[in-house]
Every structure is written in structure tokens, then in C-alpha cells.
Symmetry: C2
């Protein structure tokens, strides 16, 4: 059997009882560690589970499906993923590969940022399409995600922006070499995300039908579900210079119309009350 | 401290390790049992936790906040909710009431249908606004949710439809009596939801710009996250006569454009291949 187990968002103890039982009984347990991270490290997980984990990087998960699934027809193999198993396309793909090999698959769900974001008091049913904000480079500055933010805003919906993570990215120079060298990990902050949004607004200011502005109310979230969780509510302009500490961060551009309960709940996170 | 603990979607063992520790140490533990249900009953939970639970019905959660929070400034009280704590407005409201009373609040997240629905292979980032489909009566047949389905479809997004639950609804006759009598619980099936959608399409067929049709691809899900989970993919018309067993059900109207991986994944759930 191949198990794919969500770990939730915070620390070791956010795994479910069912998930923990599976981790303990499997022959090999992989930890997917590049689409997201927990606030505790892999060592803390190993100690809590009382067993060794195999760290699965992008190469292994995306190209090494055969290695991961090896023997899963006869014994139990698990892949642990931060959040919920279906949060990333590569995990869905892995389930398909397993089924093609006639390997049984069992999924253990858990919280993901898509529902845990409700902790800021914005109604989950008032969110539109989720967008991802990628790190820009000098020559690659895509802004098509902004059209989705704007569309949600027009339709009076909140937008959850998932912020880029760069873990184990090979350096440009090492791409042609045999031995890859890696850049230090980077996690986009709400301030960086807000700055990119502000640049897009500046670039598009001649378009006269843009509704999102520097004054639009945003919510910045850090380390959701952990003891050090931090939430802040302020304008997009103010968000450009906000520091809410270590990763992971998420940013919400709220709807222009809020429910009274949403307003009341957000009040506790407001800066400059 | 007031704890609000998500139970996830399946059975007893879908609670997190952190959540279970809280349940065991609290003085009083309430189980909210009207916005959703697990596939196991309250008795199974009590046995697994090794303690008594207090069943919290709609009256208690919506009007009895003071009773639930009584003593939470000095001892530990928990409210258990199916799915994630922020899945229903009443839970958000309860957190606010606690904070107003200067009672510390800790939230333990878990999977909810909003992310677990990814188990059908549709990308979570391609969903638009979620809608709720209510049970119609002879005199009350709202269809404004259909406008949202249609808008998502136009924007090439999937729509998750949450289906109505009627638990502990007083009978009309007993509303004026001292002792309320309750109707048997009802859980809307994907067939009932599809039938209501088909009726709306029929009523609106003279509007010539409706894109959703009886041929639109839908996905029906039952008991997501449990061992008896069932998923079916077929047209809206076919969904009207599909039986996928006991509650809870959810229905998805898919986007007119699917990603190749979505098509491949859905293939396993197709009827009339």
C-alpha cells in the first residue's frame, strides 16, 4: 500500500492519529520538503515518530516516482506532505502513477492553508480563485495573477495569495555542471509580495478600470496553525513595509465589501487602529 | 483556555495528536453536531477518547455561548467541530465572544471539505467561489447560488457545492409549543442537488446566455476522507439519478476547461466510460 499523509501546518503534533499509526508501521517513509515547510524541522519529526525519514526533494518526487513506489505492492510505503496531500499537482500525479502500477493508495487528509486561512475571520465561502505570486527576476516579471486578484475584487471576493518558496534551487552556474550547487532557501514575505503588487499597480495605473489600489485592505499571515502565528490587517501600501517574522507567509487581498462579523474579527489584527 | 478543535472528516482517528491531547485534559468537552457529521457517531468518539462529550446543538452554539464558555477563564474547555474550526460562521462568532471575555483561545486546525475535495483530482487552485445549495420548500425556492456557479463556469473555474443538512430542525407545528418536536435528520444527496440544478436550468432556458447545461461534467462525492468514500464523474443530467450511498455528499460542477492531469485523474470515476 502507498500512503500519502498530510502533516497539517504547524508542528509534529499536527499529524492525525491515523497518520501517526501509518508512519509507525511503514517500511519506508519519505518527507516531501520543497513545496512547503513546517515550523519544526525534519529532525524534530524523526524524534517524535521515533524513526528515520527519507527527505524527498523535487528531483525525487517529480522524476523518481518509481523509486518511491518500489515495493509498495508488497509492503507499506508512505510519503508525508506538509498541509493536505492534494495541495500540489505533483502529489496527485504520484497517486496516479501508483494506481497505474496496481498499487493500493490511501490518503490521510489534514489542514492546508486553503482552509486554515479562515483563522483571520474572513469567511472561507467568500474567497474567489487562489493565486500564486512568484519571485520575479530581472528578466521574468509575470503579472497575469493580478488579473485574477482584480476579477475576485470586482466579484466582491477575497483573494488568497500563496507566496513563492525556493528550496533547493540549483544555481544558474551549476546547471551545466555535473555536481549541482544550490541557492540558499528563500520564502517570499508578505512585504515582498505587497511590493510586487504595488509595482504592478504602478505599471498599470494608466488603465482606468483597475479597482484594487494601495488603499485596499490586506491581511498578512505568518506561520498559520503554529504557536507563533501572526496576523496583521492593513492597507496594501502599509503591507509593503510590514515584518511578521519567519516563513511561511500568505497574503489576502480582501473583498471591497466585508460582512460585519468579518470586520469585527479583523479589528484585533489592525495596525493604526 | 477555550479550545476549538477540528475533527477532520472521516472517523475517530482523524483528530490530530495535538487535538487528542486537548480533549483528554479538558474539564468539559462539547461536540458540535449540527453543521456537519462524521461517519462515526458520538458514542464511537466517546469510546475512543475515553470520556464523556456534551452534545452541542444549534440552540446551544448560537445562543448559549455563555454556558459553553463558563469557567474557561480558569479551566480548560473544548468545542469539537467536524472539519476545520473556521468552516462555519457560528464558530468564528464563538471565538470572538471568548476574546471579549478575555478568555484565551487556541484553535486546532484539521481537514475540511474545502481542501479534501482535492481527492477527486481537480486542482484546488482552479475552484471559484464555493456555494451552498439549500433544500427547497414548496414556497421557498431560492436559486441565486446558480449565478455564482455560472460565473465560475464562465471564468473557467470549478464550483464546489455544499449540500444542505437539516439536523434537529423543529417541526412547523411545534414552533409555537413549549416542547419542541424535531423532524428526522435530512442530508441532501448529489442526486437531489442535481435535480434542483436541472429545475433551475429548465426555468431559465429562455435566457440565452446560460453556459452550464445538462451535459456539463459534474463530480459527486460521498463520505470524503472515510474508508467508504465514493466519487463519481458524469453529466449533470446523469447525476440526477445517481446513488452514492449515505451522507455527507458534495457536488462539483467542473470548469468547461480541464487540465490534462485533471482529465486523467477523473477518468477512474467516470460512469459510462
Amino acid at each position: 500500500m502507498f500512503f500519502i499523509v498530510g502533516l497539517g501546518l504547524g508542528d509534529c503534533k499536527d499529524i492525525t492519529v491515523k497518520g501517526l499509526e501509518i508512519v509507525k508501521k511503514c517500511e519506508r517513509v519519505y518527507l516531501e520538503a520543497y513545496t512547503s515547510v513546517l515550523t519544526c524541522g525534519a529532525e524534530a519529526l524523526e524524534e517524535f515518530y521515533g524513526r528515520k525519514l527519507i527527505i524527498a526533494d523535487r528531483d525525487l518526487v517529480e522524476q523518481g516516482a518509481d523509486d518511491i513506489l518500489e515495493g509498495a505492492d508488497k509492503s507499506d510505503i508512505a510519503l508525508l506532505v506538509v498541509g493536505d496531500p492534494f495541495g500540489a499537482t505533483t502529489h496527485t500525479d504520484l497517486v496516479l502513477r501508483a494506481k497505474q502500477k496496481d498499487i493500493g493508495v490511501e490518503v490521510v487528509h489534514n489542514a492546508s492553508i486553503l482552509n486554515a486561512v479562515g483563522c483571520c475571520g474572513l469567511q472561507l465561502y467568500s474567497f474567489g480563485e487562489t493565486v500564486s505570486i512568484p519571485y520575479w527576476t530581472k528578466t521574468w516579471q509575470p503579472d497575469s495573477f493580478f488579473d485574477k486578484v482584480e476579477l475576485n475584487y470586482r466579484n466582491k471576493l477575497h483573494t488568497l495569495c500563496l507566496l513563492d518558496i525556493k528550496v533547493k534551487e540549483p544555481t544558474l552556474e551549476s546547471l551545466t555542471k555535473k555536481k549541482k550547487e544550490f541557492m540558499p532557501p528563500r520564502f517570499m514575505s508578505v512585504a515582498e509580495a505587497a511590493q510586487q503588487l504595488a509595482q504592478i499597480l504602478e505599471k498599470r495605473k494608466s488603465e482606468d478600470n483597475i479597482l484594487v489600489s494601495g488603499a485596499s485592505l490586506c491581511v498578512g499571515l505568518a506561520r498559520v496553525g503554529s504557536k507563533t502565528q501572526k496576523i496583521i490587517a492593513c492597507s496594501l501600501q502599509q503591507m509593503c513595509s510590514i515584518d511578521i517574522g519567519g516563513p511561511l507567509h500568505s497574503l489576502i487581498i480582501t473583498s471591497p465589501e466585508l460582512h460585519p462579523l468579518e470586520v469585527e474579527y479583523l479589528e484585533q489584527f489592525r495596525i493604526n487602529k
